[in-house]
């Protein structure tokens, strides 16, 4: 019972929004517009994206106004997030999810914006896209994949990690896909926006975090029974994560891996997903198959209509 947005086509108008942090600079915003133009779309920049409220792109009302304008303007075919950081969680109680479900459109983002993407999927059934914020599209390969994926209504080609993958518990499983930044996902726990992950394939990434903070968030997944009830778990990049000043710290491949071995849950590391190259867009809410032995995430249905 998912709702799929229409695949994008050349000449579509795309709303550029900042649900969390303000883009780092006007120059970065300009570059993001150019990238969208080069994909063949027409960028429409949210009115408030360069405002400031702490690290955020304006107050909750201002960020919400930009998003609502894009959701409810029929001339806007999709919404791309400009930057991550912090702030999308603050907006969740203020959306009109019923109205949004009547206007299904592509929405893509990563990092903190995953809180928004997962909540949107939970509350509306809309297939949302966890991938890259525009300021993270640097390599041609990622640019091409972004454009190709969002402009097709056929089933996407599988994600393959080839040599970089590490199987923790081998095997293959199918289920609905949930892809997210780990901390953005756990930030929904206990709230009305927490996703039901029973029998899902969970795909996670994070960036710039200390291993302890990551293990705390992973522990929440264990304590909440999520690790026990998912069908399989795959990990993308944990870019620039590490001990960060602590005296002793095993990497997540060890600590997460040990827990997953105890639970005998099919799991692998090294999927080409997350906030560094090579990255990919992963749809939230379609069926897929995760082959942990070989590090392949296969999509079993189209993501767009």
């Amino acid at each position: 019972m998912n709702i799929k947005a229409r695949a994008l086509k050349a000449g579509d108008r795309i709303g550029l929004a900042a649900p969390s942090n303000r883009p780092a600079s006007a120059a970065e915003l300009h570059r993001s517009c150019k990238i969208v133009e080069e994909m063949g779309f027409i960028p429409v920049v949210g009115q408030n994206v360069l405002k400031t409220f702490g690290p955020m792109a304006g107050t909750d009302e201002e960020r919400l106004a930009d998003l609502n304008r894009f959701f409810f303007d029929d001339s806007i075919a999709g919404i791309f997030c400009l930057s991550g950081g912090w702030g999308s969680l603050r907006l969740l109680p203020h959306f009109d999810f019923t109205q949004i479900s009547k206007n299904p459109k592509v929405i893509v983002g990563s990092d903190d914006n995953c809180s928004l993407l997962l909540a949107l999927h939970k509350m509306t059934g809309l297939v949302t896209f966890c991938g890259m914020n525009l300021n993270q599209i640097i390599h041609k390969q990622d640019f091409e994949k972004f454009k190709t994926n969002l402009t097709t209504n056929s089933t996407w080609t599988a994600l393959e990690s080839k040599i970089s993958h590490y199987p923790v518990v081998k095997g293959s499983a199918s289920g609905y896909i949930c892809a997210s930044n780990l901390i953005a996902l756990v930030s929904l726990f206990g709230t009305p926006f927490e996703p039901d992950l029973s029998e899902h394939l969970l795909i996670l990434e994070d960036i710039d975090e200390q291993y302890t903070a990551l293990d705390r968030n992973f522990t929440t997944l264990y304590l909440a029974g999520v690790l026990q009830k998912i069908n399989a778990i795959g990990f993308g990049h944990f870019y620039n994560c590490g001990a960060k000043g602590a005296e002793n710290m095993l990497p997540v491949e060890d600590t997460f891996g040990d827990q997953l071995k105890l639970l005998n849950k099919k799991a692998c590391f090294g999927l080409p997903f997350g906030q560094t190259n090579p990255s990919s867009i992963i749809p939230v809410g379609i069926k897929g198959t995760l082959d942990c032995t070989n590090g392949v995430l296969q999509f079993n249905e189209p993501s767009l209509s």
Binding site: P55, G85, W86, F189, G190, T191, N217, T220, L223
Partner: protein
């Protein structure tokens, strides 16, 4: 659900034995444990060391089973009168599903800790009714006179802690930030105490081990978190409806939470941490204060989780009183 019957442990007396364990992170240099022994002996206490305190697994003192084994061993040991972790760090939440709360209920003892112990201490109270102490641990109870005085008052006496005072800030005219009693929202409230480290309270949201905030005076503190992370924790707590259930909130000092001062993820634009506190907590319709020394700073007073306390917050006049004794 019926109201929990409160259980209290006996207070520590000279000659009593303290069980020292490392349920979270280990002491990195073994030498630092010598100070602990010396300080405990000075208070007239004996000590016993858990079997696994020097184990190591990532940043934890051994695997979950090893740390849990030491924890349970101290509760079952009739010679042990109080359980004091050597330090916090990371790890207690991981073994919560294995904790034997019946064992604890049958052998009530004093347990004191904070930071990573937050989940464990609140859960012990929620599951058994045993009043636990939120305060310094074996490696930190002597870090300032203020800290040690409250530690001794809370653990070695059966009188209520009463009116809490602030540390005397020594120095030549420039007191350390923040002021200890900044009023975020005025009001008065009486309720049982619950709370601790925000990162741990947040870690347990959406799990069977989450904090019960209903009708509580909630105290929260953290260390070395960026303001946006504090915003994340408070926002998530608001979305769960938990903060709205509390009767009053005391936000601790939040040391190391100024932007840019950590190895964690930093932004170029920031709120100050007190702007975050004001933005998230000032409109709940309950009294909220910020700055009391109850967490990771040099000075820390001890609070009994589950004991009744009264907060009166009026601009220019703030009082916080612990009305009920923590132990027998």
């Amino acid at each position: 659900m019926a109201e929990l019957t409160t259980i209290k442990a006996e207070h520590l007396k000279k000659g009593d034995t303290v069980g020292l364990i490392a349920p979270a992170s280990p002491i990195f240099e073994r030498g630092s444990i010598e100070f602990v022994f010396e300080k405990l002996v000075k208070l007239g206490l004996k000590y016993k060391l858990g079997k696994h305190v020097f184990d190591s697994y990532s940043d934890m003192a051994g695997q979950d089973e090893a740390r849990l084994e030491d924890f349970h061993a101290m509760w079952s040991d009739p010679e042990v009168n109080a359980i004091i972790p050597l330090r916090g760090g990371h790890g207690c939440s991981r073994f919560l599903p294995g904790v034997d709360f019946n064992l604890i209920a049958k052998n009530p003892k004093l347990i004191i800790g904070y930071s990573d112990l937050t989940g464990l201490l609140n859960l012990i109270y929620q599951k058994t009714g045993l009043i636990t102490l939120h305060g310094p641990m074996a490696n930190s109870f002597y870090r300032s006179n203020y800290t040690e005085e409250y530690f001794v008052k809370a653990t070695m006496s059966n009188k209520p802690l009463g009116m809490i005072s602030d540390p005397l800030f020594a120095g030549d005219g420039c007191p350390p930030y923040p002021p200890p009693r900044m009023v975020i929202a005025e009001g008065e409230a009486t309720g049982k105490l619950a709370g601790g480290c925000l990162a741990i309270i947040r870690e347990l949201l959406g799990t069977p081990f989450e904090l019960d905030c209903k009708n509580k005076i909630l105290f929260i503190e953290d260390v070395n978190e960026q303001p946006h992370s504090i915003d994340r924790f408070l926002t998530q707590l608001l979305l769960t409806g938990k903060l709205q259930q509390a009767k009053g909130i005391i936000v601790g000092e939040l040391p190391g939470c100024r932007p840019g001062t950590t190895s964690r993820r930093t932004f170029s634009l920031n709120h100050s941490v007190e702007e975050v506190v004001i933005d998230r907590l000032s409109a709940l319709g309950i009294p909220v204060i910020y700055g009391m020394r109850l967490g990771h700073g040099e000075h820390q007073f001890t609070l009994p989780i589950g004991a009744q306390a009264t907060l009166k917050a009026k601009k220019g006049k703030v009082s916080f009183q612990i009305d009920e004794a923590a132990c027998l």
